[in-house]
């Protein structure tokens, strides 16, 4: 299936992916209105380490420990994608405790938040990929 991959060699550390992610998941149709004056809480995070930059988001693992660990049954895997049922999630954060990549976080309204490949929002394709100016983040099928 297609997943989001990062090539750290090309990542500029510009963090546009973080802003595009926050906007895509804001439900708003105006980027400025969606983000101005707000602390963003994106599902993709850019790491900076010396002169290395790269973006990390959910790996949609083949054998997802977050799904196995979810105590409420809110996390599930459908067609290869790991998704959160926000109605079922009570925000216990057990998934945050087990995700080896640190890709699930406390969201708003008591449920956790994670990358759902922009299939659950109006963007329809990963906004982080679409907006990456140096093609450091790609949406590809690597098996």
């Amino acid at each position: 299936m297609k997943r989001v991959y990062v090539n750290e060699k090309w990542c500029l550390g510009c963090r546009l992916c973080e802003y595009n992610c926050a906007y895509a998941n804001s439900g708003d149709t105006d980027m400025v209105r969606a983000l101005r004056g707000k602390k963003i809480n994106p599902n993709i995070v850019v790491e900076e380490y010396g002169d290395i930059n790269f973006a990390v988001s959910c790996r949609h693992c083949a054998d997802p420990i977050c799904v196995k660990s979810c105590i409420s049954g809110a996390l599930s895997k459908e067609d290869g994608m790991i998704k959160v049922d926000h109605d079922k999630c009570v925000g216990c954060l057990t998934c945050v405790l087990v995700c080896p990549y640190g890709c699930i976080k406390e969201g708003e309204h008591g449920a956790v938040s994670k990358c759902e490949l922009c299939l659950e929002n109006s963007c329809g394709e990963p906004a982080c990929v679409k907006g990456c100016p140096n093609r450091a983040i790609v949406f590809e099928d690597r098996g």
Binding site: R3, Y5, V6, N7, E8, E47, E48, Y49, I52, F54, V56, R59, C61, A62, K68, S69, C70, I71, S72, G73, D87, K88, V90, G91, C92, L93, T94, C95, V96, L97, V98, C99, P100, Y101, G102, I104, K105, E106, G110, R142, G143
Partner: protein, 410 residues
């Protein structure tokens, strides 16, 4: 066609069903469920009382789960005897169920010490099951005082669940601190302060020695009046069926890495099972829901003829009260790295070039990176631990790790 029988209908049973079906789509699966209902998320009963979930949303799997997986559930039945020679389970109804492979996933039951006069207490509840929560809910009102015996995970989650709905809550525990099974004194007091801010009172290092109607007489000499008593002192693994059948048991049913018991074709998983804590090497009952699922799944795969082992189990918990979250994992031994601030503690324990355990209160972003280091026994000298200990992140794990995990399918 193989016949699988699962005693119990919780997370371990669900894991087993999904594990069996990942290998064997045909075999018959029978679940013997003491509770007369579809599998639900037991730890959510406190959220139910809080109004943060409801009975429909707290189902652990969709309503069509059993049907989708070809599972026959015998609701409201309890197994009373196992015949490992004849390979059958006898039920309380007198029925017998034959098996080729059997899983004990029958969990644990609350343990209530024989307090003097406890039979004189009219409004007394446990806090383990949906029916416990529903019975308690009927008695809740803002003019009532509640005494909760036990300041562990169950007792405190109960306190949080009912805090808005009763007049007063007192929690007592024989231990000198709250959450004594997972926290040390400093960390525990941080959590206690948060609960006290909500008006919850504590009597620690103290317990009831005698009850008389609506009054508890404490070891300290104090007297506590209450309208509702909740006992959350502890739980005990349900081992008696397997023990009588001849299985090796300690505090739980002894299992190997495949979740097999000492009896042929019989497996155990979840809160009734005892297995090795990979961080301490000790054999113990680790009654945590994620592990129950994973053990059940491992058992199911092996029951169906597949190959799976669990050799990296460890205690771990993520629990929050009134917005203050506490995460813990592994064993607290070795050298301790500490960060502390207002409403925030971080402790990482390292020994023999390994991260062995941690406690994180107040800040927990990306905590799973630490958990994975413990689980994978990542040698600390293979990563930049000086950076990692301050900020859990993937960059300090090294280029080959990043290339593999972020560039490939994991």
């Amino acid at each position: 066609m193989k016949k699988y029988v699962i005693i119990g209908n919780g997370a371990a049973a669900v894991g087993a069903i999904e594990g069996i079906r990942s290998v064997d789509k045909e075999g018959g699966i029978t679940v013997i469920s003491r509770e007369p209902c579809h599998v639900y998320a037991r730890p959510l009963i406190s959220y139910l009382l809080q109004g943060k979930t409801d009975k429909k949303r707290m189902l652990y799997r969709p309503e069509s789960f059993y049907e989708d997986n070809g599972v026959k559930v015998m609701y409201g039945r309890a197994a009373v005897k196992i015949d490992p020679e004849g390979k059958k389970v006898k039920l309380d109804s007198g029925e017998e169920v034959n098996y080729d492979k059997l899983l004990s996933a029958c969990g644990s039951d609350p343990f209530v010490p024989a307090f003097e006069g406890i039979e004189t207490v009219k409004n007394r509840f446990g806090f383990m099951t949906l029916s416990d929560a529903e019975a308690l809910e009927k008695e809740l009102s803002e003019d009532k005082s509640v005494l909760i015996m036990g300041a562990g995970l169950i007792g405190l989650k109960c306190a949080e669940g009912i805090a808005e709905r009763v007049g007063k809550i007192t929690v007592c525990d024989l231990a000198p601190r709250v959450l004594s099974s997972i926290l040390d004194a400093d960390c525990a007091s941080l959590m206690q302060e948060r609960l006290e801010k909500e008006g919850i009172e504590f009597l620690l290092d103290d317990t009831a020695v005698r009850f008389d109607g609506n009054k508890a007489y404490m070891k300290s000499g104090k007297e506590v009046s209450f309208d509702i008593l909740i006992t959350a002192v502890g739980v005990r693994a349900n081992i008696s069926l397997l023990k009588e059948a001849g299985a090796d048991c300690g505090r739980g049913i002894v299992t190997d890495e495949k979740m097999q018991t000492s009896l042929k074709d019989i497996y155990a998983a979840g809160d009734c099972a005892e297995s090795v804590d990979s961080t301490s090497g000790q054999r113990k009952v680790m009654a945590i829901m994620p592990l129950a699922y994973m053990q059940g799944r491992c058992a199911g795969v092996n029951m169906a003829g597949g190959e799976e082992i669990i050799d990296n189990a460890m205690p771990m918990n993520s629990i929050g009260f009134f917005g203050l979250h506490c995460m813990s994992a592994g064993t607290y031994e070795g050298e301790c790295y500490e960060e502390k601030g207002e409403g925030y503690i971080k402790r990482l324990y390292t020994k023999d070039n390994l991260l062995k355990g941690f406690i994180l209160i107040g800040k927990n972003a990306r905590a799973g990176i630490y958990t994975a280091m413990i689980r994978n026994k990542t040698p600390l000298d293979s990563v930049d631990f000086e950076t990692l200990k301050k900020t859990p992140s993937l960059a300090p794990m090294g280029k080959s790790y990043r290339t593999e995990k972020l560039g490939g399918v994991v």
